[in-house]
Symmetry: C2
Subunit: 126 residues, 2 copies
DNA sequence: TTTTTTCACTTGCAAAGTGCAAGTAAAATT
DNA sequence: AATTTTACTTGCACTTTGCAAGTGAAAAAA
């Protein structure tokens, strides 16, 4: 995945790396890979620290997690919040990131219906 | 992306390559990349031939298109339908593939809302 | 306070995937 | 019969992925 510039509180400026003006293509430029949406999912599940993400059952490699957290921050889907005094951070969804809930819910429903043996322990409506 | 076995008309058996029982992770195992959902989008837009997909504005490389069509067929999201007599094929969404409409619509809405300059010429409700 | 453990990464490397260009053979068209 | 189009495949350079190991700071334990 190629890299991209930051984001505003309303809507992000079109980066030159955009493949087309299609909103689906555009979305895939931001999270079209095997890991990014799982990090978003974890954030919806209340996980917020680096180790929380690595503890998820899929076992994201730590170098990829670093990379994804950085990209998500750059594209304004998440923000880093400094933890008590120290140099450590928690991550949280921005409004833009929270707006992905319908996407995740649709994928969850699809998976539950069409892929045998899947179960959604945690990701609820609301 | 690692490869996987075929699919039934109800729900697909769990492949050993599955990363977790999470329906989202499972879905991403099938279409978690930058191109697959664009092929699905094109099919929803009525495109069905190899050249139709290559003609989309994102310009998928032909080797990747071949690969994606094969994987989508294997995983039961699309099927190859033989064209009049010859050895050529058209591609169409299966029921399982059509069931991805809510996912694409959610992504479309998200892109339109949060990514400046995107526009959805074609992908409609229904 | 010192030691140990945990956390949040980074680095190195082999393997796999991507993207581009060029090639090919069959089908369709002229 | 010759030309063009279609649906691919192949080759190759480059990038990304996944695994393991290493590192330094912070937190916890002794």
């Amino acid at each position: 995945m190629p890299r991209r510039p930051p984001a505003s509180s309303t809507s992000s400026p079109a980066p030159s790396s955009r493949r087309s003006p299609c909103p689906v293509a555009c979305a895939l430029d931001l999270f079209g890979d095997r890991w990014t949406l799982l990090v978003i999912r974890d954030l919806f599940l209340g996980r917020s620290r680096f180790k929380d993400f690595t503890a998820s059952p899929e076992g994201i490699p730590t170098n990829l997690l670093s990379d994804r957290l950085e990209r998500l921050t750059e594209s304004g889907l998440i923000s880093r919040v400094p933890l008590e005094g120290g140099k450590r951070f928690a991550y949280e969804l921005t409004e833009k990131g929270k707006a992905l809930k319908p996407v995740l819910l649709a994928m969850k429903e699809w998976g539950l219906r069409w892929e045998e043996g899947t179960r959604a322990d945690l990701l609820n409506q609301s």
